[in-house]
Amino acid sequence: MMASSYNAKEEDGNPSSATVHGGAGTVKNKKPDNTAFKQQRLPAWQPILTAGTVLPAFFVIGLIFIPIGIGLFVTSNNIKEFEACLYSVYSKYSFSSLSTLQIDYTGVDLSSPCFNCSQNYIWNSTTPCTCSVPFSLDQPFESNVFMYYGLSNFYQNHRRYVKSRDDSQLNGDLSSLKNPSKECEPYRTSENKPIAPCGAIANSLFNDTLDLYYIDPNGSRTAIPLVKKGIAWWTDKHVKFRNPAGNNLTVVFQGTSKPVNWRKPVYELDPSDSDNNGFINEDFIVWMRTAALPTFRKLYRIIQKKPNNMSPTLPRGQYILDVTYNYPVRSFEGRKRMILSTISWMGGKNPFLGIAYITVGSVCFFLGIVLLIIHHKYGNRNNNADIPN
């Protein structure tokens, strides 16, 4: 009551006093503009988070998230991913339900086929060490199979490592080719020649060769065709990474030195495909995208489903993984794995997202019920308190 009379007085008072006093010039100058913004009276939506308003949102979130979570979980479970550790017993590799294949071929155990190779800590041994890891598939991989190599305890995200590259060199800049960035130290020059590609990342390029053979029931080995196109991002392959201008890569890279740990120069990385040489070699590009965590996997090859026949990409049966063991990881207690996985729309096998969705959805639903109770019990009380008459 008081307030309303207050306002009324003010409104009545203003015009009269304005007319009485003649000094309108000064009054007008100082009088504030009566705009909604300046008077802080802009029209506004004034939402309040009460149990009543939030309740439906919680139920809706719960009802949406739980199905999404179930869907994700099921999808993830349908993904076939073969995962195995070589230093445990072989027979365990024949998975029936869990269709992932992950083979650790580091060769830590004496019993492991790659044990001998793993003892070799030297990079540049001229005689490549090879080992063969047999495994069996109890269930066929029906669709495209993606072959990964995985490294553990490998800190690709170490700061010194991450920055040790020269992106303009990799983009084909000629001056950077001859004079790489200082960030590449100590992998910048060798024998007074600039290293191309310079830096720690390039220098430590993963150089194991993995080959997959299907053992026919009759005992003959069939090489499974591994496609190396499309393992790197399209934009990386075509924009970010470029060879220096010139027809002949050998000429272009003249005057540069190969990275210390490499066996062959960058322009000879892939003898089979001339478009896959130099900086635009896809294996190289994949390696150059530094992983976020010390345990990571990188796409190695794709086993494509044969377009014409209905037979599975990888049928049931015995397989052999042939490893050319070059990459030493034992020194830092690393692990090397080979992973076979199918891919769905949500990527590889990852139950986390599904479980998380289910959990959050259920929590929301549960909270919704709790809030409903609270709202029912206390909401009325509050309203009563507010409106005493």
């Binding site: 700061r159 990527g347 959050v360």
Partner: protein, 1133 residues
Amino acid sequence: MNFSTIRNFITRWCAGEENWVDTRTVYIGHKEPPSGSEAYIPQKYPDNRIVSSKYTFWNFVPKNLFEQFRRVANFYFLIIFLVQLIIDTPTSPITSGLPLFFVITVTAIKQGYEDWLRHKADNAINQCPVNVVEGGEVVRKQSRKLRVGDVVLMKEDETFPCDLILLSTSREEGTCFVTTASLDGESSHKTYYAVQDTKAFTTEEDFDTLLASIECEQPQPDLYNVFGFCFRPLGSENLLLRGATLKNTQHIYAVAIYTGMETKMALNYQSKSQKRSAITVLIRPHPSSVSPLLSVLYLCILISKALINTVLKYVWQADPDRDEPFYNQKTDTERQRHILIRAFTDFLAFMVLFNYIIPVSMYVTVEMQKFLGSYFIMWDDEMFDEELGERAQVNTSDLNEELGQVEYVFTDKTGTLTENNMEFIECCVDGHVYVPQAICNGQVLPGAMSMDMIDSSPGPGGKVRQNAMSCVTCSLGLACQETEELFFRALCLCHTVQVKEEETVDGIKMGLHQGKSTSFYISSSPDEVALVEGMKRSFFSVSVESRFELLEVLTFDSVRRRMSVIVRSSGGELYLFCKGADSSIFPRVISGKVAQVKARVEHNAVEGLRTLCVAYRKLSVDQYEETCHLLNSAKLALQDRDKKLSEAYDLIEKDFILLGATAVEDRLQDKAADTIESLHKAGMKVWVLTGDKMETAAATCYASKLFRRSTQILELTTKRTEEQSLHEVLFDLSRTVQEDSSQGNYKEIFLEICRNCSAVLCCRMAPLQKAQVLIKASPEHPITLAIGDGANDVSMILEAHVGIGIMGKEGRQAARNSDYAIPKFKHLKKMLLVHGHYYYIRISELVQYFFYKNVAFIFPQFLYQFFCGFSQQPLYDTAYLTLYNISFTSLPILLFSLIEQHINMDILKKDPSLYRDIAKNSLLRWPIFIYWTFLGVFDAVVFFFGAYFLFYNTTFTSNGQMFGNWTFGTLVFTVLVFTVTLKLALDTHYWTWINHFVIWGSLLFFVIFSLLWGGIIWPFLNYQRMYYVFMQMLSSGPAWLSIILLIVTSLLPDVVKKVVSRALWPTTTERIQVSERAHTHTHCLSHIRSGPLSVPCAGFPLNPDLSLLTFSPRHSSFLLPNNCLKVKMFFKV
């Protein structure tokens, strides 16, 4: 060069130094005595150049940089930048260097431009021509070439170029008129007097023959104090200050005594600005002082984080294969570095990586918020006063939020609670009461208020104008008895009012409302104007005929609280008329009808009228001679002049014969009672500090509802019996507290009682006492607010945390010295209840939100260190690190903190009890900060581990390709930006189009920026790590799903907390929000007034409407019975 000259120079220089503390001797026209005649040391004075500019061309860059780096934010950035430059840090120096450079450059350009303008203004002033008398001729000189001792010829409307002693004027009586509008804002014309002995010098030639010197103090900033000798004492009435303007006088001759930077204006300007900043920095306990404290805490967190990481790094690296695996070798220089140096650089690098946890950008944002926010106060239409044509002013914008934290309000009475628009009500001569007819028109309000004598500012003394001191003739046919005639004569003679003929004065206008608008009475004390006006209107008219000669003026001062004049009538009789407060007159009265007058005075005082007593004394010639002697010797004194003068006055003003008393009414200001009531309901304790009589002040307090009839009143006076009661209370208390209570304990207990009272009235306060009460009353740093309108309130205003000046009729000194100036007292209500409340809410959210968003920003980086071998690898890209606080999340919170309104403005005004919800800094308490920090950490954990499990040893693209570490960071960052912005959106209660625009706009900006940043190979960058990272991430379905999931998860706890606490333990604010929302469609808001807290005190009889209400238990502390105590303090002066 030989030694002796140097030594000479040194000794002279030293002598000059010694002289500095002494007085200075100024030789008029530079006619120094021959050097042999007496010990004469030539003194060095500065030239008359005024330098208001800060920089010169040469020192601009270093000085400006120094000034800028004194600011915390800039300095912090500079340190980070230098660390980044020196050592190998995870982020490039550009991340902090670029913003720093930008800010510094823009500020430097702005300040340089301002300084250039100042240079121009200085030049204009320094080069403006001045007429100087040299060798009997007028020479035009540039102002800056003026020297001490120059005789200057000033014409009308010219502004004085330096501090001058007036030698002679074109007016016969040797006076001139001056306005000091540019110095103290008072535009009234003040009278200055020429030195008696040089009054006759009227031509340039005369001054050539003048041989004289002036001895005066070295310059000091006090505007109203100057003492000096010529041949006779000089006072401030002879000193023309630089910056004042000559008015109504054709020309004057004056001699320069202070020049250049030594002028009072220049000194005052400097010392004042320094004082302000000192107060702001040292004394004020800021509500946001939590934020510096918090910054220190966060600095500790930052350092400990960096330390932990450094230690862990070296523990982890103990294995050389981890430190330097074959694939990641160090350079030789790195290897050879000493381990301690390496550890230290690592520590610094971690500091740089985590430095964003200290929200340096917060300081910039808070400053901007305060600066921009203060405009809303100035723009407020409701705080505009049509009558004065004034709106609220903001002098210091960094106190906006303290307006919402006020616990004690110290208010002046006259001009603040009352209008200070005096109206002559009655006079009492010898016990007979005379009432002018003019006021019998029913305008007098019951319980109307009064004014106090102390409030009349004792401006530059001696402003009595001769022709206003005019004869008194009886016009109404009253019997001209002797006492009556003397009484009215005294009223007409004993004042400092002057007549102003023109109308173009735009400051204090005392227009005569009936008819004669051409003549105004101007005085620094409005009650004198009221008296003179009342005299003129009702009883006498002022005629020009001069029958009295004014001999001496014993000017008013607030200690004596009286003024006197000595006049010689045409008959040759000498009179001393005295006018003053009753308490200062009655003890000095020897005859007259004391009892009747006293009774009338007390009656009037209870009515709330302001009373003055008039007395006179006849002086014999001998007595007059003695008086003159006393006064002159006192005026001659260089030291303790004030003291000696007051002693002299004390001797002269005695043995009075009482003539009578006057009563002047001062009405209560519009809605003063409503405002006081609101402040009470808002939980503020109102103290009225006045110089007025207790009865008058108490009447005002009752009228303004500060006291109610039902209020239990404790009085502490020296005379009255009520003293007993308080004394007993004190004694009881002291016995309970301490057996042997000394005097000091009484003081403490007394103050303790006062602090528990909801209202306190202190009477008879001198200006300085007001400030002392304020300091004493608030030792535990509650926020105090002082509001006043006159020069006598300035000390109080400066002392309080928030000083508010009312643009009243007693000049603009209070308004100029205050933090905020408002036209009327009623505007205080909106200022505190609405603006204060809003700004407190806004700033607290701003501060907390900044800490929250930076914790959420940096904590994932901290977690990431555990997964990257403690190598200081940043999680986010450089651009994201730089722009996070600058552009992605800056505007929403800034705009939020400018326009958030959690409750409608009208409701805040209607229900002052809402102010208690935010009292005692309740929104910036530690639990709340811990909650926000916890929220930040929780969100950070959700972001990081959400992304971690998504990335852990798997892929989430549909083509099997892998993502790298930058995608990881970008995912976390995207979730972060969205969460942090949406969190603010959830906190926003007032969604204007601006909020929508800024919140959705900045999210959109983030997306567009990310697309652009990753969409191009940037030619100027030496890395392309972000190329297509954002797009690739968005092309993956699980990334979208996880972004949504993580945002929902991190917002969930806050929403639940809000909803549950609102449902279970709602604050008043929240209830009102709900009910406001529930009832907006019916426009039924009136019930809100009767919220549970609108009963200010349980001791009041409960209003039947209110008694139905339930009391919220958390506010029960407000219901302590001792809240009802009201204490009157009587300070004996």
